[in-house]
């Protein structure tokens, strides 16, 4: 039983008379502990799928089963609960609360979870032991993203969803972030789904899903994921 299973997911937007199919029958699956990368050109529907997977959006049709639970029929409230406990999200633009320090940002997320990890521990884990009491404006992009990751991890989620996490970072910083994610995946056994349009990093993934025009063009397993450090692009 795959950890995540999407069956024939469609997402249709109605703008007046116009119909936009953001996702058009997406079927994919991800095993527990896998590092899955979803690639595809802009407009392919990557973010849409991620949003649906993360419980931030409803699908028009199809089913999503995460860890044995069908979340496609979840109510808003249930989805919120799902997001709360099962999902950790990392955005491209970090979306940290500016008014809170790094520690507080993580604590914010930790506060609402039952089995959360101690915030400072997680921050140290991501290498920000020295930066606990800095505001996001006092942190570099990479540090901010780490905080975001720490925030996501602090919740002890089943699933870590990352939407172009390195999009706003330079090469080396991005690489380090990816490494962090990979390490977390391998060490913690966390299932990570990462969206990018950068084909170059697909070797690091355990599973590579290619989307095009709202459909899964290809889904293959990578038996030999490479270390991020080894990949150059």
């Amino acid at each position: 039983m795959p950890f995540i299973e999407l069956k024939d997911i469609t997402k249709v937007y109605h703008m007046g008379e116009v119909e936009i199919k953001a996702a058009d029958g997406v079927t994919l699956s991800v095993e527990r502990g896998e590092f899955a990368v979803v690639v595809g050109p802009s407009g392919a529907g990557k973010t849409t799928v991620l949003n649906i997977l993360g419980g931030m959006d409803n699908c028009t049709s199809g089913s999503i089963v995460v860890d044995g639970r069908d979340i496609s029929r979840y109510t808003q409230k249930q989805l919120t609960g799902y997001r709360r406990t099962d999902i950790g999200f990392v955005f491209q633009f970090y979306n940290l609360i500016q008014n809170l320090t790094a520690l507080e940002n993580v604590e914010l997320a930790a506060q609402i979870c039952q089995n959360s990890r101690p915030a400072d521990e997680v921050l140290r884990q991501v290498g920000l032991g020295e930066r606990l009491f800095n505001f996001p404006s006092q942190l570099s992009g990479g540090e901010q993203q780490r905080v975001a990751i720490a925030r996501a991890l602090a919740k002890n989620p089943k699933l870590l969803l990352c939407d172009e996490p390195t999009g706003a970072l330079d090469y080396s910083t991005g690489k380090s972030i990816l490494k962090l994610l990979q390490d977390t995946c391998r060490k913690e056994g966390m299932t990570v789904v990462l969206i990018t349009h950068n084909q170059a990093i697909t070797p690091m993934a355990d599973r590579i899903i290619t989307l095009r025009n709202g459909k899964v063009e290809q889904m293959r397993r990578n038996e030999t994921p490479a270390d991020v450090a080894a990949i150059e692009w």
């Binding site: 959006d57 997001r83 406990t85 999902i87 633009f93 609402i112």
Partner: protein, 1162 residues
Amino acid sequence: MNRSLLKDILRETRKQLSQFISLALILTLGIGFFIGIRVTGADMRLTADEYYENNSLMDLRVISTLGLDDDCLQSLQEIPEIDRVYPDYALDSNARLDGRDFIVRSMALPEEQDAVNQPLLATGRMPESPGECLIDDMYARTDKVELGQTVELFPEDDGALSRTAFTVVGTAKSPMYITLDRGYTSIGSGKLSAFLYIDRDVFQLDYYTDAYITLKNTAGLSGYSPEYTDAVKAVQEKVEGLTGTISQLRLEKIKQPYETEYKENKEKFEQERADVQQQLADAKAELDQAEQQLRDGWSEWWAGAQEAFDRLDMEQPERNAPQAALAALEKKLREVEDGLPALEGGISELKASLQELETGQADYEEGQKKYQASKEEAKRELAASKEKLDNSKKELEEGEAALSNGVSQLYAMAGLKPPQGLTPEEALARAQQDLGPFAAQSPVLEKALEELEAQGVALAAGRQAYEAGVKEYEAGKAKAEQELANAAKELDAAARELEAGRAAWLDGAQAAAEELGITISQTEPSAVVAALEAGAADIKEGQNSLQSGISKLKSALKDLESGQAEYNDGLAAYEESKKKADRELTDGAAKLEDAREKLDQMDSPELYVRTRSDNPGYDNYDQDSQRIEAIGQVFPLIFFLVAALVCLSSITRMVEEHRTEMGTLKALGYTQHATAIKYMSFALGASLIGLLLGCIIGYNFLPVLIYNAYRTLYSTPDLIHPFSLSVLILPAALALLCTTLTAYAACKLALRSVPASLMRPPAPKAGKRVILEHVPFIWTHLSFLKKVTTRNLLRNKTRFWMSVLGIAGCMGLLITGFGLNHSIMSIVPTQFDEISQYDLQIGFSGSEQEKQTLSALLDSRDDVTGHLAFYSKSAAASAHGANHDANVTVLPANAKPDGFFSLKDRNSGDPVPLTDDGAVIDEKLAILLNLNTGDELELFNSSEGIACKVKVAGIVENYVYHYVFMTENYAQSVMAMDFSANLMYVNTPNETDAAGTDRLAEELLRQKGVTAVIRASDIRGMFDDMMGNFKVVIAIIVLAAGALALVVLYNLSIINISERQREVATLKVLGFFDREAWAYIYRENIVLMLIGIVFGGFFGWILHGFVVRTAEIDMVMFVRQLDTLSIVLSMIMTVVYTALINIMVYFKLKRINMVEALKSVE
């Protein structure tokens, strides 16, 4: 501007519709309220002025206690400033309609087109016949009078109206009565309930009750402007100057018919009196004449009778019995006739006796001669004897003397004293005795003695001889005398006899004469006889004439008697007439006297000149309009400012949100100007719509709303609400400033940056440690989320202050609204429960006597617990350049105001005593005239003779009208004037109800000297109404403030949310339930609300104080304290609003699409 931009603008507007609408709404409210409150006052006055103009409301009204006539009107018309003098009829009377009794003033329907005080027909139609009438519209509405019902009047004077029953065919408003109050009257309980318009011809009065005057110099002036007041005052003074003359004229006119009648009557009376008197005089004259004639007749008769009586020698007849006299005469005549012969015989006898008498006389005379001769002889003899005797005596005496001497010599010889007091003989004897012894011794002596003895013997012999001679002489004398005496006696007897005889003869003659009826004056007998004889002859003669005379007398008597009878009748009749005439004349004279007195006592009537201000409600209307205006000075401005502030922040934020777009446009090459246009257009669009709607609300809706609320108490036509540009300028300018210009400025500011940076998302505001973090005590105890809230709040200072100010502003406005309500509403209970405690007020203008009577009456009544009489007149009080009308109240020396009105200090509540040190004034007056204790103020009222300076000795709490209280002593020390009481406060027991008070009022009105009775409850009711009007305004303020609060808070929240969409989305992504995310936001709102309430409380307190002072009318003092309830209510409202907003936030929040909000900028 090219088409794409235009499209952009329109689409943007549609997208941001709620924003656009809320902006427009805020501006609408702000502008609408601002304009509305500002123009309502002026609109009200304008409406009133139109009404007065169209219906020709009078400028002056002249009334007199005895009515007016054409002459009065004539003199009034001579004042050049007067346009028209319009006479009118009015009558107060009891009335009944549909079983209800009330007191009504019936006025004459104006007949001409351009009459003064034309009524405005409200429902139904104008009366077309004398049996129809128009009734007071306001009364009709409140008492549910229907057209077709009949009104019956009960005037006190039956002849005043030609008919008393009228059918109501319509209702009307009168420009004279624009409020509920219909004024006072002197009948019944003193209060008029309604007015009635009836046909002019129904009035049968021969005088006008009112003269209404319109002036030339007031044309075009607003009835409430100071120019109008001055113009009217000038003419009023002129008219008042004429009142003396007119009063006099009127009096004369009234008197005239009476005077004429009096004159006529007097003339008539005098004429008649003259006639009557003349008649009487004539009659009297006749009578007198007759009497005289009678008297003459009687005299004559009696004279005649007397004559006859005399002739008949009878007694004086008694003058009152002519018949008897006549009878007596006749009797006597007969007697005389009968007795005549006897008489004649008697005369003969007399003659004979006379003869005898004469003989006797002769005898007597002879005898007398004899006697005389004898007497002579005797005399001679006696004389001779006497001589002889005398000689002897002489010798004797000589001898005695010699003896005596001798004795003495003897004694001398003997050397002894001779004895004294002895006769010579005795002396001799003594000498013999004494000297005898001696003699024995002396021969001389003895010789002498012997000689003496011889002498003595001789003497003795001589004496003896003498004595014998004397005896002889004596005897002879006696004898002679005796003889003579006898002779004399005889003669006397004879004389006596003669005398008697003569007397008897005379008697006889007298008797005869008497019988003859004549008097004899002669004494000489022959003459007497002659007379007697003549008399007899006369008698005989007389008899005949007597006879005829008596017959004459008889007939004369008859005539006289009938004449007498006639005269008596005539006299009686005359007396009768005279009495009657006298009575009637006296009556008539008395009546004339009376009439004259009454006429003279007629007082010239009092004339009163009234202006529009004396119409009930006229000034109140002005004051109400002013009150709104006063509020309109400050309040809407604040309102508007809050609105403007919100707009400002709104636009600013909006511009900031569009940074990216602006950057794009700039990058595309659009000028700054072009870029800014979009946002300016948005802003301009919103503000124009706001302006437009605001104008509609402000010029039309709001004024009409406020005005119509007042119209429940005012009877006026629909509001005229013209567009006036001046009011619009400020709000329009501000609105544009705060929107369009702000947009431009914000754009300018934003566009300073280069396009690139614009297009990037704005660097989020850096997080900062807040001050509170440095207070570890509090900070560590705050929960995590609370720390977040705190930091969030303080992060964006602008937003923080904007929100706080917005909330504070609204809170402040609410507090002002509620506080003002309290300040005004509590005046009436405070004033009428605590300060003015009396139950009835009596106006008095009678004499001291009448005052005493009234006082006694009040003392005696069960339904009166006390009364206080004092002097009260209004005067202008001035100090420091300001002046206001005040009631000058002077209490008599020992009067205590306790229970009638209380004088106490407002702040401390301590009583302020009224002493002879100075005057006590009310607090508001002190404020208006800038007075403290110890300062001086001037009082002036020329027509009452008040002009003086008084010292302020105390200031008391009072909310309605102005007062200057003084004791009589103090008042008289500054003004030499008589402060006789003209006002009385009366207290009734607590249980007295309205009916009881009415009864008392009616009773009192009937007392002499009482001119008006006003119930305190009526005054209170009037003020309640006045203040009640104000409630409307308050309600509007509160509602507007509330609406503004709502909109402001909504807007602020929207701003809040839009700025933090990403934040909220993140939270949602993180798994925050909607409620939790909501709490995250509304926690901030609550803190803002709390802070805003505190600031707002403070702000409201200040604003309230300010508005109370500015909105106050001079005549009234608002309660200055801000009450807790107002604050609490405002807080509650603010909390409620915030809660509402938060709820709205929740829904907005719910709809935040995480995906959209967190959309990455590619």
